[in-house]
Amino acid sequence: MIKLILFLKKIHFFLLFIILEALAIHYYANSTSYTKVKLVTASNYVVGGLYAQLSGVHSFFNLRRENRRLVEELAQLHNELDALRPDTTRYVSVPLSARDSALLLDPAGGRRYEYYEARVVNNTFTRQENYITLNKGALDGMQPNMAVISGDGIVGYILSCSDHYSVCMSVLNREFNTSGRIKGEDYFGSIYWDGVSYEYVTLTEIPKYAPIEKGDTILTTDYSSIFPPDVMIGTVESFELQNATYYEVKVKLHTNMARVNYVLAVKYLDAEEREALEESVRYSEGE
């Protein structure tokens, strides 16, 4: 007995290390991306205010750049609005149809997306799993699965909300996944980040007969129930034929993920209806 105690005393350092390390590895191996998001949300609850203060200082020094970007965006929106505005003089004799009046009288209009402004208070890009924290939470109308975009293009989507903060999956996260298409074409593929550079993402599964060139614009598609269609993702930097069947395209992100500051969170108003429908079809097929 005494020998055993002496032996245990001799190896207690090693034993303790094995036990603690085993516990840590057990926790790590059983962690999912959901666990990590829960951790980030919980720690934001503790130090979110401090993050907000720090990023406030940071964004103060970026006001000039931010202003210029806003004016540019305003000009662009004016141009787009002008292009959309109907030439009333031409249609003056055309009576409104029933469908038109329904569209005009419906309070929601033809609107499918609702936009919320928010500020990035915490953002990393040097890790393999990067998350972004926004200064708006559930009380401000945020909910999981809202897209997050900046004036330049996609940024990520919301994963989880506390009362005053939201944690988003950054484009720069190896678990990020959405679809992208080549502007002007119907070919699409899936977008993911390979974890190497914060400036590039990969667009894969583009059919080999798709006409693709360096500099082509890549936009989001209609297939996502998160991102609105035709949001800028980036431009084609290079592409490579894989297994002689599909292209793997290196896409330069249009958003500078290292400097993203003010963003828009986009709520897809039909998301629930669409997901319920898609789910019901999947369910009945499974039976």
Binding site: A24, Y27, Y28, S31, L39, S43, T126
Partner: protein, 176 residues
């Protein structure tokens, strides 16, 4: 008691600096300095093994909580704590360890300190980045991240140990 207070401050300072500064500066895609390990490196040489491992666990869990990394920091910090006594014996020498004290530049000399800290920081970064990547596909990118982060961390740890009071011989503030 004096010592206890000093190390508590060092612990808190290291976690805060790591979370709010070093993990956020984003020098480059390849550099993510994990400076908080300085706390483990600067513990007195005569600390009992059990304490060393417990403190390493506490440190790892704190950093994991704020970084949202679910265990990676705890695993690599514990491993460094486990290797520390051996590293001290092999790289610093039996006599120095017997005398005790804080293993900093004043106590060990620059060359020995850099050797000791460098090896442990390398082990820490290697484990951290390999667990984070969990793929051999970008082996060389990961290797580059490990090497560059180790160099930057070593530099920052060098400055940290100079800034803290534990830098003084014996680990206490003395009139200079």
């Amino acid at each position: 008691m004096h010592k206890f207070l000093e190390y508590t401050i060092l612990f808190v300072a290291m976690v805060l600096l790591q979370v709010f500064l070093f993990s956020r500066i984003g020098i480059s895609m390849y550099v993510h300095p994990l400076v908080y390990i300085a706390f483990i490196l600067l513990l007195p040489m005569e600390i009992p093994g059990g304490w060393l491992l417990m403190l390493a666990t506490l440190l790892g869990i704190s950093v994991d909580f704020f970084m949202g990394t679910a265990g990676i920091n705890t695993i690599s910090t514990l491993f460094v704590a486990f290797c520390r006594p051996t590293a001290l014996l092999l790289l610093v020498g039996k006599d120095e360890v017997k005398d005790g004290g804080v293993p900093n530049v004043n106590r060990l000399g620059l060359k020995k300190f850099l050797r000791y800290a460098g090896v442990l920081i390398f082990l820490h970064s290697a484990l951290f980045f390999m667990l984070e990547t969990l793929s051999w596909r970008f082996f060389y990118v990961t290797l580059l991240r490990i090497v560059l982060s180790t160099i930057v961390t070593l530099l920052l740890v060098y400055f940290c140990q100079r800034l803290f009071a534990v830098n003084r011989p014996g680990g206490y503030r003395s009139t200079e």
